[in-house]
Symmetry: C2
Subunit: 333 residues, 2 copies
């Protein structure tokens, strides 16, 4: 495989240039380019629990595209596929603290977990009450090159949306934590890669896939999944993913479903997958009561998709429907 | 180049399967799967001008993702990269007619133009007043394999949004036509392809590009642009595109800017391009007063981007800001 063309100015400037673009495109955001933190322009609201997330860049719109009313108060991007660092996160935590404590939303990767833990310790020294929710929804593998336990992927979007809504209603920290943990507990994800991704610093694909090869259970950094397999129709791929989810946590009732593109897959194909997901759910007596179809938790230019499901109840549905105003999710306001 | 993997069930079912997915994902839409028409679920509003657009599939979210309050009343997808047909469009035109006439928004490709003209003639027989606006914003080439004159690309999104808002305010057909034509007259686009796209019926890339080759002025069906060139930093590519726009219609003042992904390019790279566009505008004494950064007028899985600019005035800005509620654009409501 040859060189992969990327719209960048240089490897070091990928993240700063992205932040410049975000700041210019979204007047509702305030971007601290020096510390690499994206905030709501409106600043912290006294008495509201602050929500901070972060993780390696390359998964956009996660997390920077989910900053705004009803979701995050701040997002801290690291370098591509690299955890942000404690100095960034303590800065963000302090800045969004409105007196009611701060929730850290952490995807389960070793680097992220360690850096968020260190940030929590620093926050305690500053007398800021911090709690963390660990997202670990990916059923494909237990333990991986980056993770002890399951990886955190698409459910992060659900946790950020629903915990963000809960915080917006003025709920105290322990209630925001509870709902965040509940969303994670009810959510499962499985991804299928049709191609590798290419990190800018490497310049060529992370791994090779043959013309008809695919990776079942792919991670969001190009890390391996369960097994290699051969390409087949969208219906079969959707059913493989849904079987993996259903096996881990039986699907039933009203379900929040995300069919997520990995970055290089066109929207038309994601809708085709979603149609199959709906058929699958019907067969299990479940239904996609709420859904997202698009690029929400990407892996640079990777082709493929992931499916995330979350069993809804009345409260979670209300919180999902709660108004939101961020670059990547916007409704009801 | 090898086989390209696509999330489809078969070549014939690409469009029907996409429509099934759209219908399931968006309760605000009503999908006539037999006639391949996507409507607002709420149906036509008496006294409101109806807006119908359509064109080949493969450019999603264009046009089906722009059906809803404040934009289109109906969209008619053809097969991939193939015009819809008059029986579809007369059905849609009749269905959305609320007594105030119907505007057809037509991208300038020979097949689309002919089929929309035939539909207008059929509409006249049914005593429905129909007007058409032709979108021809792409400055890259005059005449092409599919087009007499300039091609219609990204400005279609601007025309659909602004004319849709105008219609929503209750303006009569001639005023909706006037504002649609004005948006087109003020808009220019230029695209750069880093890769080919692959139509499902062909199964391999439409053209070959070397490891460091790019196509300047690429069309949205993989048709050639002005010239081949070599890959270079995002800043240089953004400036090449902006120079082409500025040369055709000098940039100044408040500008509506779209940095559009061609389908296979990750969001992070589009923000990097947008940051450069903002610098370019500043140098010309212009500014991106409103913007979109994302996948809006795609070309299947093509990698690359296009930039569309439209000089704003107070009325156009108000109409851009008007509430909209569609799968792909949603704000203020």
């Amino acid at each position: 495989m040859g060189t992969v063309k990327k719209l960048i100015n240089g490897i070091e400037s990928v993240v700063p240039d992205t932040l410049r673009g975000l700041a210019a495109a979204h007047p509702g955001l305030r971007v601290d380019e020096e510390n690499r933190i994206v905030y709501r322009a409106a600043g912290p609201r006294p008495g509201k629990v602050g929500l901070v997330s972060g993780g390696g860049a390359g998964h956009e719109p996660l997390h920077t595209g989910f900053v705004g009313y009803g979701m995050l108060d701040a997002a801290c991007p690291g370098e591509v596929f690299t955890s942000p660092v404690p100095y960034q996160m303590i800065e963000a935590t302090t800045a969004v603290h409105g007196g009611a404590g701060v929730l850290h939303i952490v995807k389960n990767y070793t680097g992220d977990v360690l850096n968020f833990q260190m940030t929590a310790e620093l926050s305690a020294e500053e007398n800021i009450e911090v709690a963390a929710v660990l997202v670990d929804d990916d059923v494909a593998v237990h333990n991986s090159i980056y993770t002890a336990g399951r990886r955190g992927t698409g459910a992060t979007v659900f946790v950020e949306k629903i915990a963000g809504a809960m915080a917006e209603t003025g709920a105290p920290l322990h209630e925001v934590v509870r709902v965040a943990e509940e969303v994670n507990a009810r959510s499962r994800s499985f991804g299928i890669g049709l191609s590798s991704c290419t990190t800018p610093s490497v310049g060529k694909p992370t791994f090779d896939l043959g013309d008809t090869e695919i990776e079942l259970g792919i991670g969001i950094h190009g890390e391996p999944g369960r097994t290699r397999s051969t390409m087949r129709p969208a219906r079969d791929l959707a059913w493989i993913a849904m079987d993996a989810l259903h096996e881990d946590l039986p699907l039933s009732g009203d379900t929040l479903v995300m069919v997520n593109g990995m970055g290089g897959t066109p929207l038309i194909e994601l809708y085709i997958v979603f149609a199959e997901v709906v058929d699958y759910l019907a067969e299990k007596g479940a239904r996609a009561a709420r859904s997202l179809v698009g690029n929400y938790t990407t892996s640079l230019d990777m082709q493929g998709f992931s499916i995330t499901t979350c069993r809804l109840d009345d409260q979670l549905t209300r919180l999902w429907d709660f108004p939101v105003e961020t670059p990547a999710l916007r409704w009801g306001r």
